[in-house]
């Protein structure tokens, strides 16, 4: 099928954006990444001008790494798993809005990883030497933990969240859900209070406006609002306890 692709481009972080349109011909089973790959093979825009290939990020090509996330027809999604047959003949591509653009469709999502550091999103093990099996985990806990652990830090939930914006430093739903994951684990729970403390700080769970957009857009079905709800309760209990302790 023939598609007309309009792309919001930018040469570098300091330059302003511009729009460029291409015409490509691909089977309808192709994904959006294929469009960008076709453009590289023939970097000529719809006016027939030679242009530079469109810069984009991708790796796994099967929606497990999160690299290729961008706005497609106004909705943030993974380009590798968005197929032409679901889009129609006119396609709009733009970079994510909530992150600084590097070039064309590439954005800098470092702030997600920084936030993971802030909430201590890890299990504090003693070391890697042999210590025998880990704590037994009930199948029930594994099922919910696994769902949370599939978060690939793609940023879609932040893109959809009204509370993530220029005026706030909200760490966003994904990172908060990871906090819950680590509090769920028997060893992870040993530093639960550190994490709750962080969530009570500026940019933490208090910023959540309960719009619930995040859970609707998450490509991996991570139970974001479930985790947010649980942590709302946990941080509340913790802050009362903290109050009583002092």
């Amino acid at each position: 099928m023939e598609v007309i692709v309009t792309i919001e481009r930018r040469k570098s972080p300091v330059e302003s954006s511009y729009i460029e349109t291409f015409r490509v011909d691909l089977p309808d089973s192709a994904n959006v990444i294929m469009i960008l790959m076709e453009i590289r093979k023939k970097p000529i825009n719809i006016k027939g001008e030679k242009v530079s290939p469109v810069a984009f990020e991708c790796s796994c090509l099967e929606e497990v790494c999160g690299a290729c996330t961008m706005n497609i027809n106004g909705r943030a999604r993974q380009a590798c798993s968005t197929l032409l047959r679901d889009l129609g003949g006119k396609i709009n591509l733009a970079p994510l809005r909530k992150f600084p653009v590097i070039r064309d469709l590439i954005v800098d999502r470092r702030k997600i990883f920084d936030a993971l550091k802030r909430v201590k999103a890890w299990i504090p093990i003693d070391g890697t030497y042999g210590m025998g099996p880990g704590p037994k985990v009930p199948e029930k806990v594994q099922r919910i933990g696994y769902k949370l652990a599939r978060c690939m830090s793609c940023g879609i939930c932040m893109e959809a969240c009204p509370q993530v914006n220029d005026r706030s430093n909200f760490i966003g739903p994904a990172v908060i859900a990871q906090t819950y994951l680590f509090n769920l684990h028997p060893t992870g729970a040993m530093i639960e209070e550190d994490r709750l403390e962080t969530l009570l700080e500026d940019g933490g769970i208090g910023e959540c406006g309960n719009a619930q957009n995040c859970v609707k857009v998450c490509p991996k079905g991570v139970p974001l609002t479930y985790a947010l709800g649980k942590l709302n309760r946990d941080t509340l209990i913790y802050s009362i306890k903290r109050l009583l302790d002092t």
């Binding site: 999103a121 299990i123 070391g127 985990v137 684990h185």
Partner: protein, 577 residues
């Protein structure tokens, strides 16, 4: 100038290496083209092997060792494989302690599933996204060290060259920032390469888009030995795609999935018929050849195309969702068909390289100070890798390398701060001028199309079935592509985020490695593991129970052979009937 160690790559191998180095209090600079959390290891679906014998089947690390060597057609050096299998249960326990959400039995213990080349339930798994789950756990541990100041990440930096001093010792690297194109040198007392697979050399494969082997190739061109390059694993079950051949994990067969096609109007379970005791779980090389034969030689593919059925429709939906949800989701998403009610259509695809940078038992290459771990090295899988052994080999090698690096550094009489800066400067200017030269390329060829051509001829002639005449023609064709590369157009004049610039560099490197693969295949006149030549259908231990070693030469690789360490198990004929 501070002397730290440098690790290139943040997949399972690179992250494990980082953790083991940090535990030895070594400071690490960790380089990766993408944020490490997006490394290719996230694609691994099926699981990771360890003989924990939790199902009372009598499994043991020794049996695991035996099956790994046997499955690899005796081409792997035996002592390191044995050490890996012995360490495997520890690794699973460690990952469990790190919080990997492995599937559980009803009693809350780790669950294990079956994989190819064994009859034991030996594979621990986290749904069907095991690699992702393990990578995240390691990433989290590394983030902890990063917060403590032991790790400094260089994400968005590409390794471009090793700095090797005039005594032949590795002293650091040259790397380039893929965004602002800054090219710089980074001194170190040791460098660990963990750059993963090379699927891009075949154009389309099950690998991630960033698995191009460029780093390995650069090192090979700098004098590092490249071993067993011709051993490329073709996985029997992938879905065709325009951009990628997406894997349908072996775990699908481990959980009871069956392969069949129609013959004389009836369902024909050809693997079960020919290999009654292993059935659908014969090793990958064998399954791929059988599917290839059924489709290409007998013309019995489904709908007359190169595809057979992989069928799970007889398994109940709940079990499928819990154990294989992630894989079946991929199938559904990309084909639009429902694998729960309709058999999946699959065909073999390039998947894994058993070959890689030559290393000794301490993971060090022939260049002192330069180590390699993970899929980029050759040590653990012989002529064919068993499913779920790769994640294991990555982590095992990564976790053990910290010690070796520390010992190596303690033995150094000259530390990297003693090395004159001009060595680094001159290596850097070599790379800088090469990139300047790329920027001036304004010929007629498109580099991406040229890459497509390379991938097509490699897939056509150097995968499941190899004929000498065609492999030879391929070698000549690769050389022609190498010539034509000098006539490409760089397409992009920007000094920011110029992806074509880096791609052209990678393409040069992919071509050199393609020659290693093809020439190794051409000269190995036998059939062993994944390497199959109809003209030489049998294994020839007399002449070829040897590790292939490729050394760089401008025209084409120089191939020699090295003995295999057979100190524990005696080679026997490999059969799975």
């Amino acid at each position: 100038m501070s002397c730290e160690i440098i690790i290139i790559g943040g997949g399972l191998a690179g992250l494990s290496a980082t953790i083991s180095a940090c535990e030895k209090n070594l400071k690490v600079k960790l380089f990766s083209v993408l944020p490490v959390k997006r490394s290719h290891s996230v694609c691994a679906q099926g699981g990771i092997n360890a003989s924990v014998n939790s199902k009372g089947e009598g499994d043991s690390p020794y049996i695991h060792f035996y099956e790994t060597i046997y499955g690899g057609d005796f081409l792997a050096n035996q002592p390191p494989v044995k050490a890996m299998c012995e360490n495997a249960p520890n690794i699973i326990y460690l990952l469990d302690r790190m919080g990997v959400m492995f599937n559980r039995t009803p009693e809350g213990f780790l669950d294990f599933r079956r994989f190819g080349g064994t009859k034991y339930h030996r594979t621990a798994f986290a749904g069907a996204t095991t690699g992702q789950q393990i990578l995240y756990a390691l990433d989290e541990q590394v983030r902890r060290f990063e917060a403590n100041g032991l790790v400094e990440k260089y994400e968005g930096w590409e390794f471009l060259r090793a700095v090797i001093d005039n005594k032949g010792v590795c002293r650091g690297i040259i790397a380039g920032n893929i965004n602002n194109l800054d090219i710089n040198y980074f001194p170190a007392d040791a460098v660990i390469i963990a750059t993963g697979g090379i699927g891009m050399i075949f154009g389309k494969s099950t690998n991630s888009y960033i698995c191009n082997g460029s780093a390995q190739s650069v090192l090979y061109q700098q004098g590092v030995k490249y071993a067993n390059g011709e051993f490329i694993q073709v996985h029997p079950t992938a879905i065709a795609g325009l951009d990628k051949l997406r894997l349908i994990s072996e775990s699908v067969r481990g959980e009871g999935g069956r392969i069949w096609t129609y013959k004389d109007g009836k369902k024909w379970y050809f693997l079960e018929e020919k290999y009654p005791s292993y059935g659908n779980l014969v090793p990958r090389d064998i399954a791929s050849r059988e599917i290839f034969k059924v489709c290409v030689e007998m013309g019995l593919g489904i709908d007359g195309k190169n595809q057979v059925y992989l069928d799970v429709t007889h398994i109940d939906r709940k079990t499928l969702e819990y154990k294989l949800g992630g894989v079946l989701e991929i199938y559904q998403k990309f084909t639009g068909e429902d694998p729960y009610s309709k058999p999946m259509k699959v065909f073999p695809a390039v998947h894994y390289t058993m070959g890689g940078l030559w290393v000794d038992f301490k993971q060090m290459t022939n260049i002192p100070g330069l180590f390699a771990v993970g899929e980029c090295e050759y040590q653990y899988h012989g002529a064919n890798r068993l499913g779920a052994n790769s994640l294991l080999s990555c982590i095992h090698a990564g976790l053990s390398v910290g010690d070796n690096v520390l010992n190596y550094i303690s033995s150094l009489s000259e530390r990297c701060e003693d090395i004159p800066l001009k060595i680094f400067e001159s290596e850097k200017s070599l790379v800088v001028s090469k990139f300047e030269q790329y920027k001036r390329l304004n010929g007629a060829e498109n580099p991406y199309l040229l890459h497509q051509e390379l991938g097509e001829i490699m897939t056509e002639n150097v995968t499941v079935v190899r004929y000498n005449e065609r492999v030879l023609a391929t070698i000549n064709k690769i050389k022609e592509i190498r010539e034509r590369l000098n006539n490409v157009n760089i397409l992009d004049s920007s000094d920011f985020g110029n992806q074509t610039l880096f791609f052209v560099n990678q393409l040069y490197n992919m071509i050199e490695l393609a020659l290693v693969i093809a020439k190794g295949a051409y000269l190995r006149n036998e059939s062993r593991g994944s390497h199959y030549k109809p003209e030489y259908p049998h294994r020839d231990d007399q002449n070829f129970l040897k590790t292939t070693i490729a050394l760089y030469d401008k025209e084409e690789p120089v191939i020699t052979y090295e003995d295999v360490d057979l100190s524990i198990l005696k080679p026997v004929e490999r059969k799975y009937q």
